[in-house]
């Protein structure tokens, strides 16, 4: 059976060049980077080269990069670290309703610790309004934390404008760039970013490695305690193979970005247009143009996301959904909810995220298989074609008023 992986925003395979170097650091250059001896010094060299590669990609200085165990830890470090280090200055944090849980749940934790958090609403395309942001700023605002690209619907947020506003108001600015790092150009200086989170496994490096960019001079309280690694900011034996792999993946991503984005945008648009054309009562979620090149997110009315994923899976297609049944909670995606999409339609959302390994044939295959599956599930659905449909009120009732 043909296997088509279209879940690159969830995770990516490690690319062969990276797998090779990581393996070398597993078995040959395996030293502890803190050791004095040659095994240690060789490992240290790999770590520092990676730090440069990562810094280069976002126009930072190598000494501003701190390696973490992934995007979640980087988000926690930045947000909790800033809150605790600046709690004497103020207790107010601004974020959005569409952040990843690594940001949202961290903010909720801080609320319990006495901080106040404003969760900015977004519009129907998951876009943030700058006036809304400006109005939310208070005298005691110590941090703005906003994602660059939304992981579900792919909308690209106006980070540069947000950075300018943050700077004007002298507020620290953290960007969750887990979905944009290595995929979109980032310049931490031009964009006035003070902190930025990234994760390796989204750009063909291993899982379990990420980093935080922390602008020189930015105060941060640590969230973990122990050894003096990462200039005393992140304790624990450095994950040298992961770091080296992440560095190489970042460098390659930078080199290939422009061309790969052209390719992915073409594939993405073909897929979006094909779905909207072939499947009635389907809609695109997220911004049509301010959108990550590889992201397709559609809602296919009258059907539920998990059963859709299972059907696709039986045809070899790997995708994801914002349905409650795949989120582990009772509610569908908080992102789709924040965009004002009703529960029923949110449950029927489908995310296809493209990457290096996808070809035009993959797109054709999905466009061949998906309409049949949707038709089959709709035939089973009591919501579809039902004379009783008009009587239903859930959709109007459940639409969250933002």
């Amino acid at each position: 059976m043909r296997r088509v992986y279209m879940d690159h925003s969830a995770t990516t395979p490690v690319r062969p060049e990276v797998a090779q170097v990581v393996t070398k650091y597993f078995t040959e250059t395996f030293g502890n980077a803190s050791s004095v001896h040659a095994f240690g010094r060789e490992a240290r060299k790999g770590v520092e080269t990676a730090r440069e590669q990562i810094a280069n990609l976002i126009k930072a200085k190598p000494e501003e990069i701190f390696f973490t165990s992934g995007g979640t830890e980087a988000d926690n470090m930045a947000i909790i670290g800033t809150a605790l280090a600046n709690k004497d200055k103020g207790k107010h944090i601004i974020t959005t309703q569409i952040e990843h849980h690594a940001v949202l749940d961290t903010c909720k934790y801080l609320e319990k610790q006495g901080f106040e958090v404003t969760y900015l609403p977004v519009d129907a395309e998951a876009m943030l309004d700058m006036e809304t942001l400006k109005k939310a700023i208070r005298k005691d605002t110590i941090l703005i934390t906003i994602m660059h690209v939304n992981n579900e619907v792919g909308t690209i947020l106006p980070i540069k404008e947000i950075g300018a506003i943050a700077k004007e108001n002298n507020i620290l600015f953290h960007v969750d760039a887990v979905q944009s790092f290595g995929k979109l150009p980032i310049d931490v200086n031009q964009m006035n970013i003070d902190m930025l989170s990234a994760s390796g496994h989204k750009i063909y490096a291993p899982k379990g490695i990420g980093c935080l960019f922390l602008r020189k001079g930015t105060k941060l309280s640590p969230i973990m305690f122990g050894g003096a690694q990462e200039r005393k900011r992140r304790p624990g034996t450095e994950n040298v193979p992961g770091i080296v792999g992440f560095g190489l993946a970042a460098e390659l991503a930078g080199k290939e970005m422009e061309e790969e984005n052209k390719r992915l945008t073409k594939l993405r648009d073909k897929l979006i247009d094909g779905i909207l054309e072939k499947i009635p009562e389907s809609q695109l979620n997220g911004h049509r143009t301010q959108r990550l090149p590889g992201n397709v997110n559609v809602s296919l009315r009258y059907i539920e996301g998990e059963s859709l994923l299972l059907m696709l899976d039986l045809k070899g297609i790997a995708a994801s959904s914002g349905s409650a049944c795949t989120s582990g909670s009772l509610d569908p995606s908080h992102v789709l909810m924040a965009m004002g999409i009703c529960h029923e339609i949110a449950h029927g959302s489908l995310r296809l995220t493209l990457g290096k390994i996808n070809t035009e044939e993959d797109i054709d295959y999905v466009l061949e298989v998906l309409p049949e599956i949707v038709e089959k599930l709709r035939e089973m659905s009591p919501l579809y074609n039902s004379i009783k449909l008009e009587r239903r009120e859930e959709c109007s009732k459940c639409t969250l008023t933002k």
């Binding site: 539920e304 049944c325 569908p332 009591p382 859930e394």
Partner: protein
């Protein structure tokens, strides 16, 4: 995640559809939660002569709907009333823990349909 039996009922659901001559219809769940099951009954002399379902929901929801229709087709409504959600899950070889409540409502829908039939004929 799902047993082979669940996947079998999910991919080849039995008794999908509506019954024009249904004399009992039951529905549980709502679209907000991502699950709606509707069961159509054709009851003759207290025997379930025909049964169909339509379900909006996850794999477990569809499989349990299919399974329950198969379990009661040809049975008396008294027998059908004894079937529990748990029994349906067991007949499918079990469901993932997370699915045990939210998507395991097919017996409820069946009972509602029988109730509806009883109301219609009382």
């Amino acid at each position: 995640m799902y047993t082979d039996k669940v996947m079998d009922h999910f991919t080849n659901p039995r008794n999908v559809g509506e019954l024009d001559n249904a004399n009992g219809i039951g529905e549980v769940g709502n679209a907000k939660c991502g699950d709606i099951m509707r069961i159509y009954l054709d009851v003759q002399d207290n025997i379930i002569k025909d049964i169909k379902f339509k379900t909006f929901g996850c794999g477990a929801a569809i499989a349990t709907s299919s399974m329950v229709t198969e379990m009661v087709k040809g049975k008396s409504i008294d027998e059908a009333l004894k079937i529990t959600n748990k029994a349906v899950a067991e007949a499918l070889g079990g469901l993932p823990p997370a699915k045990m409540h939210c998507s395991n409502l097919a017996a409820d829908a069946l009972h509602k349909a029988i109730e509806d039939y009883k109301n219609n004929n009382s």
